[in-house]
Point group: C2
C-alpha cells in the first residue's frame, strides 16, 4: 500500500468544534458511569450533551472512538499522577509510607475521575480500551514487582509476580469499597486498605535490614 501517508488528516476544527468534543466526552463520561459502556447508547450520549446523534458522529467515527478518546485523556492524566506515585523507589522509605503514598494518589485519582474505574473494570469495554487497560495493568504490575524485587533481591521471580498481582488485586478491591462510600467512611476504608497491604507485605520485607526472610513468609515458603 504505497499511498497510506496518513490514516486520516485530522480535519481542521473550529473552537466551537473543540467545545462540542469536550461537551460530548463529558456527557459520555456521565452516561458510562451510570449505565456502563455497552448499555450506553450513542443517542443517549447525544441527548445528555444536548445535541443530535448526527452531531455526535460529526466528531467521532463510532461509539468505540468516544470511549477510546476518553480513555486516552484519562490515561494521559493518569500517567502524570502515577508517574510520581511509584517512580521513585527509595529502599530507605519505610513500607508504611511507600504504600500509603501510592494508595493515596491512586485513590484520589479514581475519586476525581470515576469514569476511569467504569472504563477499566467494565467487562464489556471494546478491544482498544481493554488493550490500554492491559498495558496499564502490566506497567503497574511491573513497577510493583520491581519495587518488591528491590526489597527481596533473592526471591524467585514467580513469587514476586504473584505477590505483585495479589497487591494490585487487593488494591482494586479496596478501591471499589472506597468508591462505594463517602466522607469519613471513605477515609476509614482507605486506612483499611493500607492496613491490608502493609500487613500482607510486612512479614516479607520487614526484616530486610539484615536478617533473612522468616519462616511464616509466603515468599520462600517450603
Amino acid at each position: 500500500m504505497p499511498d497510506n501517508q496518513q490514516k486520516e488528516q485530522p480535519r481542521r476544527r473550529q473552537a466551537r468544534g473543540e467545545r462540542r468534543v469536550a461537551q460530548l466526552l463529558e456527557a459520555a463520561a456521565t452516561v458510562f458511569v451510570t449505565t456502563g459502556y455497552t448499555a450506553a447508547s450513542t443517542n443517549a450520549i447525544a441527548r445528555e450533551a444536548g445535541v443530535s446523534p448526527g452531531t455526535l458522529y460529526q466528531f467521532f467515527p463510532n461509539k468505540e472512538a468516544i470511549a477510546i478518546e476518553l480513555g486516552d485523556r484519562l490515561m494521559h492524566e493518569m500517567r502524570e499522577t502515577y508517574g510520581e506515585a511509584l517512580a521513585p523507589i527509595d529502599p530507605a522509605t519505610p513500607l508504611e509510607q511507600a504504600v500509603g503514598a501510592a494508595v493515596d494518589r491512586f485513590i484520589a485519582f479514581n475519586c476525581d475521575h470515576p469514569v476511569f474505574f467504569a472504563l477499566m473494570h467494565g467487562p464489556d469495554v471494546p478491544g482498544r480500551i481493554a488493550e490500554e487497560h492491559d498495558v496499564l495493568h502490566a506497567t503497574l504490575l511491573g513497577r510493583i514487582e520491581g519495587l518488591l524485587g528491590s526489597f527481596l533481591p533473592d526471591a524467585p521471580a514467580a513469587d514476586l509476580t504473584r505477590t505483585a498481582q495479589v497487591c494490585f488485586g487487593m488494591y482494586k478491591a479496596g478501591l471499589e469499597l472506597v468508591l462505594a462510600h463517602e466522607g469519613a467512611e471513605r477515609d476509614a476504608y482507605t486506612r483499611e486498605i493500607k492496613n491490608v497491604l502493609i500487613r500482607y507485605l510486612e512479614p516479607l520485607v520487614g526484616d530486610r535490614l539484615g536478617r533473612t526472610a522468616g519462616g511464616s513468609s509466603s515468599i520462600h515458603t517450603p
Copy 2:
C-alpha cells in the same frame, strides 16, 4: 384480586422436558461465562443447546428467568456449602484454621461453578439476580461480622461492619485471581489470599486471650 391462588400452575412436565431444561441451563451457563449475561442472546443459548428459539421459550418465559433459575439452583447448592463453611463459630478455633477452611470451601465452590461468579459479579445482571446477590452478600457479611464480634465483643459496630466488608472484598478479589490461574499457581494464589486475610485479622483478634486490643490495630484506632 381474589382468584390469584397460584401465579401459575407449574404445567405438568415429561422426562424429556426436564432433560431439555437441564440442557438449556447448562448451555446458558457456558454462554453466560463466555459473554456475560447481557451480551448473551437467547438465540445463542438455544443454538448452544442445539434447539430452536421457540423450544427455549417452551420452558422459560423470558431471558431473565433462565438466569434466575440458574441462580436459584446455584444458590441452593451454595447454601449447603457455605452453611457448613461459616456456621460453626467456635471461638477456640485458631484464626488460621477458621479462615483457611472458609476460603477453601468458597474457592472450591466457585471453581466448580464458574458461572456463579459470572452471575454474581457481572455489572449487568437483571434485578432479580442482583437481589439474590444482595441477600447472599448481606448474609455472608452478617456471618463474618458475627464471627468477628465473637472475637472482639467490645468493638464498635461500625468498625466490625467495615472490617467484615474489607475481608469479603479481599476474598472476592482473591477469588478472581484464583480463577484466573490453574494448577499449582491456583493453589499458590489460594495460599496468598489466606495470608492476606490472616495477617489483616491477626492484629485485631490475635490477643483475644486476655490482653486488650493493641494500639496499631485499625479497630479501636483513635
